[in-house]
Symmetry: D2
Subunit: 382 residues, 4 copies
């Protein structure tokens, strides 16, 4: 993730003329060799090996957190207290309570904050948002969202940190469903209640000495228990009456990065698939009789959000540009002193939904968001 973020800081001013412009002042990592090399490769002007020192520096305005989930809260809160703006990876924290403390900190200290739900910034998704806001789909009835991957299907794939409950809080839920939840909140609205399943298909995996790597089979004879979900699926009701199905899994063979959704409204429907992220499929019920059908729009034209900054029509862009586009908003927020969406408020609400799904999976009950927030009080405000 550090690579994707770094690239966005480098690239945003190449394509966009924001008033605030990022300077790649310092990168931080625990391993000095590694961070030194990363700084050189990616163009950072200096480096630190202790994040506290980074936060203490006067020449730093913005702290970008791409560490594992269990360190987000401590770093973000310290950064906010030091008066630094904060951009944080998703999910915001391990728990709702933790995320609320992060929100409190950034609000109390008046710093700009944002969470990295980068998929919002695909031009096709922004275009979808615009269509919905203009009422082109009318009342929303359905969303069906999947985030399908397959990178840990091999039972010999080792117990890497992404499979640690202590480090990540959850598996497919926090890693993948969090993105689908954000897209649903962005495009459909607030969740009301959820009912879900969390499943771990492979219960044990090889332990590796250095489980930092995400690739390679486990070499160890010893196995340890997998504590996080391989797959999380859930139903949802939204405040506005829409209903949704959500499925996040790392066990959907052949789906390398199947971040997809379809939304059906009374006047039309839209479909999106990250693997063809430039396209938005749109159906309008008002189209002439006999000429109704999903049309595939390549969202690479001047009229499409952010797209005009890049290349001629249908000279497509890729994954990294979702970060570049997001960076435009973060720079504008810093320049003008507001926290662009999605920010920590979104992070907290997202966390509440993740927590509701987890509770639902444990209790086999529907869980309403208002209850989750109520239980979390007084620390958490719904």
């Amino acid at each position: 993730m550090g690579k994707a973020h770094s690239h966005a800081y480098r690239d945003v001013s190449f394509y966009f003329d924001t008033k605030a412009k990022p300077v790649l002042q310092a990168i931080c990592g625990r391993n000095e060799e590694g961070v030194k090399e990363a700084a050189a490769t990616m163009g950072w002007q200096s480096y630190e090996t202790d994040w506290r020192k980074l936060i203490a520096r006067d020449d730093i305005d913005l702290i970008d957190i791409v560490t594992p989930n269990n360190s987000h809260a401590e770093i973000a809160i310290a950064a906010a207290q030091a008066g630094k703006h904060v951009f944080c990876e998703k999910p915001l924290a391990l728990t709702l309570e933790q995320s609320q403390r992060m929100l409190d900190a950034v609000e109390k200290n008046g710093v700009v904050h944002m969470i990295n739900h980068n998929y919002r910034f695909a031009p096709a998704v922004q275009w979808a948002k615009k269509l919905i806001e203009e009422g082109r789909l009318g009342r929303i009835y359905h969303i069906r969202a999947t985030y399908l991957q397959d990178w840990i299907m091999d039972p010999e794939f080792p117990l890497v940190w992404r499979l640690s409950k202590e480090v990540c809080g959850s598996g497919a839920l926090g890693d993948l469903a969090a993105h689908s939840i954000d897209l649903a909140r962005f495009l459909v609205g607030e969740f009301k209640e959820v009912s879900g399943i969390m499943e771990t298909f492979i219960k044990e995996r090889p332990i590796v000495e250095d489980s930092s790597g995400l690739s390679g089979k486990g070499s160890s004879e010893q196995k340890g228990p997998v504590e996080v979900d391989d797959a999380s699926v859930f139903l949802a009701r939204f405040e506005n009456g829409a209903i949704g199905t959500f499925e996040a899994t790392r066990f959907a063979g052949g789906n390398r990065n199947g971040n997809r959704f379809e939304i059906n409204g009374e006047k039309g429907s839209i479909r999106w698939d990250m693997e063809n992220m430039n396209n938005l499929d749109v159906y309008f019920h008002q189209d002439e009789d006999g000429l109704q059908g999903f049309r595939t729009i390549n969202c690479t034209e001047e009229v499409h959000p952010y797209a005009g900054a890049y290349w001629p029509a249908a000279h497509i862009i890729g994954y990294e540009h979702t970060f570049t586009n997001l960076m435009v908003e973060l720079m504008n927020g810093i320049d003008q002193g507001y926290s662009p969406l999605p920010n920590f408020v979104d992070g907290v609400r997202n966390q509440a939904i993740l927590e509701a799904v987890q509770e639902s999976a444990q209790t086999k009950q529907w869980v309403t968001l208002s209850d989750v927030f109520k239980r979390a009080e007084p620390s958490v405000k719904s």
Copy 2:
């Protein structure tokens, strides 16, 4: 449906050399004018206006039931008691108890029975079954099945019989999800438990004098309550550990007949879409590194089930051929004295799952199939 069934009886011997061959002896309908014309158009040699008379005839061996759901049980039981084989539309009945009585009747009277889950008989679905049975997908992890339609999205669409709880028992659930459930039972295995939502988006619709027609806007000023579900979505756990998401709706604009599923197993995945019913998308994890991807197989070759009876490769077949193919099995069953799958046993199990979803939607609890069967005892055997 009568048209599709009639066509299959006419056509099966054109393409297939079954030992038993259907004779279009008699058609039955309440309206004499209508049924007389239908007989002439479709090639039936005689007609009746009272189904009891039809059942009483000596020259009739097989009763095909395509009436609304609330009359299935009475006709099927009477037919069985008269020693006639029975082919019945889905869902088998309005309730699990009713469906079990139907099963009891056909079993007690030793007649051949079958239920019309025609989609099993698309060559691509049969091919999927074969791949799964051969272990090509390995252990199954996921099924995600949708049956998306959009024909009643207009609020002025009238209260036709398909929207009557009394006549149909349910809406999208029994009409559409019943098919997805059958495909899941066929391809994945038995359901263990479900948790679902049933939603009616348009609560009232115009009442029409003669609500038999399925098209045309309601002309009446008067409105009546819609008692059945516009959409039903549910999660499922299967006996073999697989998990599933199911969505049946009549409110997915742009999806005219989106009967689709994807199944992910440890060794591979398959995808099918009724709107491109000749194709099966297949992914094998064992494919060479760098050459892995879903391949689109046009299941129209000699090697594909039933396909050899039709046309050269990729000269595609359509919806009606699912009926023709099914008829091959029904004729073989009648010839050899067994009830081909899917039969009333499948109908009962399907009904139990529909009932479980309904109960789950009402109670907002997970419902296990074993409980449904337990409650239904002694009349129903799980």
Copy 3:
């Protein structure tokens, strides 16, 4: 082909209420065993083994010619002289001169005539025609048409009759390109000139005793020369200024029946693919900025030509229905005494284009249709 034609005669009155209705009076074949069995299977009431006897029968109104190409002319002319209507497979004949004699015969004898370019009768193609006629595409600039197959790629595939120049006249050209040419004439307009290549990739193939079968590898040690084209590709200019590329081949691996075209006009574009024959992809330049894209229309609704006679929307139809739909027109023609399109006039023009491509491939020159017709005079009228 006999099977597809037979089925259409059987089925047309099931779906369509034409005034003239076909009666399956007699089928003809040289092998008595074979034709007897075919009659029984397909529902013909009698059979003949000599086509001259068939033509002599008083109870026969229409002669349907599905014999190899080299017998079309003789049979069609005899049938016309006997006052029978004639429906003939494509290509009409082996040469332009032959086809013109056929046209002369049917015209002189005042019988109804039609040629079997069945793909015109896919509802999606008819819908395309309507859009073009209504000016929805505006002036046509381009057509690119392919007909890609792969059934003879194996060098051991034997020298069957379809690879005989004497019997068929040509290979991919007359078999496949003839269809693309017909679709182009139907949708774009008349050809002006062509420049082409005809290529035989596999120059020799095993000779088989009975080369009637289209499947199975050659068992013979002996090989004979392949005299027809494995592939024909050509450029065309149309009278209206459009330009086209055409490619017909039996050597496009993975394309089992890739009969496809795209047409671009000043206001829009359309795409069709026989392997997904229910769909028509349509692009309108006038669509709103940012919402332009090809839309996929499933041409299975009431509004789409012929589609209303079949099933509910998106319950797709297949290859055989192109014949059923064509039959509606043939029956109407017979009833009202006109020769529906495409008829022998189209057959002659198609033959002229085939001949022009052949000449062009031999001379490596552009060949204009007017020259072809001029040379063929006085027998042929352009």
Copy 4:
């Protein structure tokens, strides 16, 4: 184009660890205001307004030519004579003779040279090359290549420089077909002969004062003749016996950047589409019976050329990455002193094919490449 090139120089060292690394030393443009701003935005350390001064600078090792086609030769030759390596936009020149002089210059002066056929460097295209080289497709029978755009379909679109014969030499041919020709040479082999059409659908367009802009309708009342082709289509025979169809057009509505090809060989087929540039569709005839079909490979895995340097699987890349990947090769060439493919030799051969198509379109004859080279002697070596 300057933007795309600039970005590649900036980005290559971020992703790839080449020994030679580009330094953005100086950018050149005629308009000082414009070039100054461009330098600032894109990160160039200095600028020039006269390309001769740029070439004269000691701190410049590589000259990158993105000027209009009619200035390529002069600049490239001067750069080579000054001992600078040269990277030139395609097409190499206006004429074959010009391109040969450029090749002579770079060879005589021993500088590294390369031409910007960036589409070769899509990972999917590189993967296609590897499959072909390994013999996975066997003998090649067919290529069908299209490059379809639609940006000048509006008759009011003005006479911009890209529509000037003096500046560009040709229209769709040199701009679009040149890319398809390069891909065909890369993947299939050398061209033997061609027969083509060049067509200008809109004969006159509004003249604009400053016709540098590529967008906006013409405001002028005055019209001037369009001297270049709106569309060029041609047939080709290759040295190895394959045949090809090529179509380049700016009049294919709905196709914004339809750079596509399909190649059929005796053992398999491949398909690629720039608008989904990460995907390669592959068909293998050796796949098991009943399981044959095109598989869609998302070429974003470690094993795919260049892909490992970017993101996790199926986190797709875009158009600009074709430039970044090419830059890896250019840097390696500069480091090790060779001219990577495609270089000026490819540029000359490409130019010869363009010239052959032009001649063919004028004379309406097939033109063989050996004749083109023969006529161009002694200056040009075939």
